[in-house]
C-alpha cells in the first residue's frame, strides 16, 4: 500500500449488524443478480440454548484481495485487478470455465446462469466511479458496512482499522483481503451448511431465459 494511491476496502462492523439482509437485497436489485445466485449474502449462525442464545451474522462478499488467486488463475485474463484494488471481471473476455470458482477460497464467485460468464461483487464499480458508496453500504441501516479509501488516513474506514481490532477471513490463504471484520464470530467464520442449502450446486446455464433476458444486460 503505497501512499497517495487510492485503495478501496470495506469494514464490516458486526457490533452494529442486526442481520436484516438488506444488503443482500440491495445488491440483488442494484446489480440485477439472477435467481439462485448471490454477490453478497449474510450467513447466520445460532449459538447456545435458552436463555443464553444469540444469533451471529457474517455478511459475505468478494474480499477484493491484494493477491487474488482468481486473477492469477484466470486463463483468459478476464479477471483483473484495478489500480485502486477492485477485482473485476471482463465479461467480454470470460469463457465461463469455472476455474476462478475453484480457485477462490471464499467461494464468492459463480457462473451467471443467464450470461454464462463468471460473476461476483464489484464493490459496485459503477457507483464508486461516480463518487457514491456501494449499494450494500448505502442501504445498511445499522451503518455496519463502511466503505472507503484505506490509504486516506482521514477516512472513516482508515480510522476504524487503526483504532479497532479487525480480522480478515481465511488469512492463511495468503490473499491479503481488503474486507475487514470487527467482532466476527468464530462459528460463523468457519464452513457450514444451512439446513436447506445444498452447498455445492451444479452450475448450469439457463438457456431458455438467456434470449429473453439478454436485452437487459
Amino acid at each position: 500500500m503505497s501512499k497517495g494511491e487510492v485503495r478501496y476496502g470495506m469494514v464490516i462492523d458486526l457490533r452494529r449488524c442486526v442481520g436484516c439482509h438488506a444488503c443482500s437485497v440491495a445488491c440483488k436489485s442494484e446489480n440485477d443478480v439472477p435467481l439462485g445466485v448471490f454477490r453478497s449474502w449474510v450467513k447466520q449462525v445460532e449459538k447456545g440454548s435458552y436463555p443464553n442464545v444469540r444469533k451471529h451474522f457474517l455478511p459475505s462478499l468478494c474480499n477484493h484481495c491484494e493477491k487474488p488467486i482468481c486473477v492469477r488463475n484466470c486463463p483468459t485474463t478476464a479477471s483483473y485487478r484495478r489500480e485502486d484494488g477492485v477485482v473485476l471481471i471482463d465479461y467480454d473476455k470470460c469463457i465461463g470455465c469455472g476455474y476462478c470458482i475453484a480457485s477462490c477460497p471464499y467461494q464468492v464467485r459463480f457462473i451467471n446462469p443467464l450470461r454464462g460468464t463468471a460473476e461476483k461483487c464489484t464493490f459496485c464499480q459503477h457507483r464508486i466511479d461516480n463518487g457514491v458508496v456501494p449499494s450494500c453500504v448505502n442501504t445498511c441501516n445499522g451503518r455496519a458496512r463502511v466503505f472507503g479509501d484505506l490509504n486516506d488516513p482521514n477516512s472513516e474506514i482508515a480510522k476504524l482499522i487503526a483504532t479497532q481490532p479487525v480480522q480478515v477471513l481465511k488469512a492463511d490463504s495468503g490473499t491479503e483481503p481488503r474486507v475487514y471484520y470487527i467482532n466476527p464470530d468464530a462459528g460463523a467464520m468457519k464452513g457450514g451448511y444451512g439446513p436447506d442449502s445444498k452447498v455445492h450446486l451444479e452450475r448450469g446455464r439457463n438457456w431458455s431465459l438467456s434470449t429473453t433476458e439478454k436485452g437487459r444486460e
Binding site: G48, I95, G98, Y99, L201, R203
Partner: protein, 326 residues
C-alpha cells in the same frame, strides 16, 4: 460451543463431472503413450504389440478430451479466447498449449510407428514423453493451485495424478490388447509387425507369426506388463494413504473431508470402489502366481483398475467439493 448454521447460501461447484472425465481421459492418453514409447525405446520386441496399441490410443483419447472441456464452458463458443488472451500464471493456459501440441506430436509418432521407422519413433518418442507427462501433469497443477478444497490444494496432487495416469494407461492397454486378440481375433504379433494393415487372422496364423517374430504369447506378455502395473498400483496406494493421513490432521475442513471419504458419504466409493476393487483386488490378481499368467484374471484386473482410477478422479473432483468451506 458449537454454532449451528441457520442460513447460508448454496455455492456453485467450480469443477464438474465433465472435468473429472476429462482428467481421466488425458490420464489414459498420457499413460498409454508412455507405455508405447517405453515398449519401443527399450527395444523389447516382445512388448511391441502393446507399444502399437498405445500409439493408437493416445491421440484418439486426446481428441475426445478437449470436446468435454469445451462443452463444459459457460461460453463454449469463446474457447479460442484461450489462445489470444494468455495468462502465463494460469495452469489452464499451460494446458491450452499443451493440449494443442501434444496430440500433434502423438499423431506424428503414430505415423512413424505405422511406417516402422525406428529412428523417427525414437525421436518423437523422446519428444513426446515430456509432453505426455506435462499434459497430464498440468491437470494435477490445476487442482494443486486451486484453493477451493484442501484435498486439491497440496503438493502431492500432481504426482498422485501422474501415477494414477500410469495405472489407468497400462490397464487400458492390457484391456485393449486382450479385446483385440480374443474378441476381434486380431493377431497382435502381426499387428505389431512391419505390415501396418490390421488384418484379422485366425489363432493358428497368430501362433505361427508369433514363433517367427519371436513374440511371446499374450498372457506371458501381459503378465510381464502386469508386474509394472502392480508396481504403479502400490505407489498410487502409498500416495493416497499419505494424502488421507495428512488430510486428517491438516485443518478442520480437511479432517471433515477425510472423514467423509473414510466413513461418510463417499466411503463406499472411496474404500469400496477405489481402494478395494480398484487397487487391492487387481494387485492380488496381478501378483499371485496362479492368476498373474491367466488372461481372465488379467482382464478382470485391467477393468477394475480402469474403474478404480475413474472413481478416484470423481472422488477428488466432486467429493473434494462436498463439505462446506464457507
Amino acid at each position: 460451543m458449537d454454532a449451528t448454521v441457520v442460513y447460508n447460501i448454496p455455492h456453485q461447484q467450480g469443477l464438474q463431472v465433465f472435468i473429472a472425465i476429462y482428467f481421466y481421459l488425458t490420464g489414459l492418453s498420457a499413460g498409454s503413450f508412455v507405455i508405447s514409447v517405453v515398449a519401443y525405446l527399450l527395444g523389447k520386441t516382445e512388448y511391441k504389440p502393446l507399444g502399437k496399441i498405445g500409439a493408437f490410443l493416445a491421440p484418439i483419447l486426446l481428441v475426445i478430451a478437449p470436446i468435454l472441456l469445451i462443452t463444459d464452458l459457460g461460453k463454449p463458443m469463446r474457447f479460442f479466447y484461450l489462445f489470444f488472451n494468455v495468462n502465463p500464471t494460469s495452469p489452464l493456459t499451460w494446458g491450452t498449449f499443451l493440449l494443442t501440441i501434444y496430440p500433434i506430436s502423438c499423431l506424428i509418432y503414430l505415423y512413424y510407428v505405422l511406417k516402422g521407422n525406428q529412428k523417427m519413433i525414437k525421436t518423437f518418442g523422446i519428444i513426446g514423453i515430456p509432453l505426455a507427462i506435462s499434459v497430464h501433469g498440468y491437470t494435477g497443477f490445476v487442482l494443486a493451485l486451486a484453493k477451493f478444497s484442501p484435498i486439491w490444494n497440496n503438493s502431492l496432487m500432481p504426482l498422485l495424478w501422474l501415477i494414477s495416469a500410469m495405472v489407468s494407461g497400462i490397464g487400458l492397454v492390457i484391456f485393449v490388447a486382450i479385446v483385440m486378440e480374443k474378441v476381434f481375433s486380431v493377431s497382435l504379433a502381426k499387428f505389431a509387425g512391419e505390415m501396418s494393415t490390421e488384418t484379422s487372422t485366425g489363432k493358428m496364423l497368430a501362433e505361427t507369426a508369433a514363433s517367427s517374430t519371436g513374440v511371446m504369447p499374450l498372457n506371458e506378455m501381459l503378465g510381464g506388463v502386469g508386474k509394472y502395473l502392480a508396481g504403479f498400483i502400490i505407489f498410487d496406494l502409498f500416495l493416497v494413504f499419505s494424502e488421507i493421513l495428512v488430510l486428517l490432521t491438516e485443518s478442520e475442513e480437511a479432517a471433515a473431508l477425510a472423514a467423509s471419504l473414510l466413513t461418510g458419504d463417499y466411503s463406499f466409493l472411496f474404500l469400496g470402489l477405489e481402494i478395494l476393487l480398484g487397487a487391492l483386488i487387481p494387485l492380488f490378481l496381478l501378483l499371485h502366481p496362479r492368476t498373474s499368467r491367466s488372461l481372465a484374471a488379467q482382464t478382470v484386473a485391467a477393468v477394475l483398475v480402469l474403474i478404480g482410477v475413474m472413481t478416484m478422479r470423481y472422488i477428488v473432483i466432486i467429493g473434494g467439493q462436498s463439505v462446506p468451506f464457507n
